[in-house]
Amino acid sequence: MSKAPRASNGPRPLLEARNIVKTIGTGAGELHILKGVSMDLRPGELTLLMGPSGSGKTTLLSILGCILTATSGELHLAGHQAVGQSSEDLAEIRRQHVGFVFQSYNLFPTLTAIENVLVALDVRDARSLDPMETAAEALKSVGLSHRMHTYPSKLSGGEKQRVAIARSLAGRPSVVLADEPTAALDSENGKAVMELLAEVAKDPTRAVMAVTHDHRTLHYADRIITIEDGRIVGDDRSPNHKGPDNGAASKKKNVAA
């Protein structure tokens, strides 16, 4: 929609979606969930996806993350064309390029925090000189060094979501997708998680998109995409966003406010 000069001159997008359509069912029961969505995600940005309940946010996120296939359209993710790929090829793309954060955390209850992170490394077959250290570092980066060997049942909601973020980052994905990551959290924990995601998005090799209902999260955004009834109706760069470098400074100001 809005053709901000930065958007067209910025770095190559990590993810490009063109005319994504998702239709479910056939005949009279046909349901058009997405009606031609085009968008891209650029590195170093936190994009918020907003819209009323049932507008297709989760469906879009699932398609962008190669968890769900579009009925038609094109999706390029880090150089891969994703629409029409087999489920194993999609798993491969997710494995290499996508990190997910879920509303209900989806941690393994039988594994400790660090083991949950190790699973993501293992699944990706991410070879590192010391996986334990990589996982420990990921937990440290979300401020949970002291909770490494704690089981999810003993963690607060905010801590669980931070473990989930550490897990999503462990394989160094180029795109991190979060579906209502703060919905199950109180405002303080929700704030901490959003701050974390904003920080994650500062990596110039990575794009972050979070679905949210929560208007308190708006000022963390570099960009806000609004979706209604399966169509994008707004795409705005945050007025605070003045570029990848001083954008952080303006966000910090907002946090303090």
Binding site: R95, N106, A126, M132, E137, K140, A166, L169
Partner: protein, 399 residues
Amino acid sequence: MMKKIAAGAGSAAPAAQGKVIKMAPKIAYRNLFHDRMSLLVTLIGIVFSVVLVAIEVGLYKGSENKIATVLDKAPADLWIVPFGTKSFDDPSLLIGHEKYAALSTPGVLKAEDMIVSFSAWRKPEGGKKTFILVGLDWANGGTRPWSIDEGEVDDLNLPNAIAVDRSYFKDLGIEKKGDYAEINNQRAQVTAVTKGIRSFTTLPYGFTPIATARKFTGANASQSTYVLVTLEKGANLEAVRKSLADRLQGAEILTHDEFTRRSINYWMFSTGAGLALITGMVLGAIVGVVIVAQTLYASTKDHLNEFATLRALGASASYIHAVILIQALLSAVLGYAAGMLLAMLAIYRLSVRVPTLTIVMTPKIAAYLFALTVGMCVFAAITAIRKVTRIDPAGVFNR
């Protein structure tokens, strides 16, 4: 708290060489031990199967050994047996010239007569018992009596002397070595006692020199039930078999293995005794598969959200199958260990309490049972694997 985020998380990840900590076994192990009740049911199922199958197989193997008791001690390349002989314990008499015909056949090194005959044993205190009289020709280099526990082989050269097994004393109405009885209305004396020679049927074996056996059974001096043929080194077995068959009408020429198999098949399958054991075995295995399949499927359903998460994280289908298979294998190993322990205990107790019962357990059978248990659990994992194969990773999002 947010220091180092941008660079921190995966800074060590891209190293090309390095180790991977395998999490699939850990997930499987934790899943398994997380649902204690379900693990218990799984293990009970496997233990039940293993014990049942172990005992049935042991009984089957024990039966085979008993059927081949004498055959095993009388190695020969070829057996000349009366035409239509169904098993070793189904004796009739050859005509009488077979041994000499065999000895004059090219390629034959040695030929040995053996008499096997149903005979009537009259107990000293009265009462009759049919037994199987076995006449051996060790005086001429044939099979020697074995497992003599009391007395000497030479004591059997006394007139009308016989060796019987101590475990049959009661059936034969005697108490000790030296006791007298009547065989086919002729006075006989037990001059040697064997130990552990049991037949598959209820009929005891009694062993005498072949001359004594001919006397007891009224066979003529050259007659026998079987002729055991040993070939010269390098002789062609099929060629010898053919020339023997050409010369001896009314007799069959069997290899040692053929005669053993024929005897085992007769008792185990023609009489149905083995069928019951095999049915028990199959039932045990089926019960095991069903229980393991049930619990594994239930456990997989309980953890479906985690499998969907794994899938969303990019786990390949084979990674997820591996988790379930490892769960199945862990169950198999635990169930087998417990089951085998219990089976050994049961076999030991049974053999103490019912000494006539022969349940054989060898390392080879134990290994087969382990393979069977693993196969059973892997087979049982199929339904669970089909379940996770169908999961939609999109299920990970709250809608």
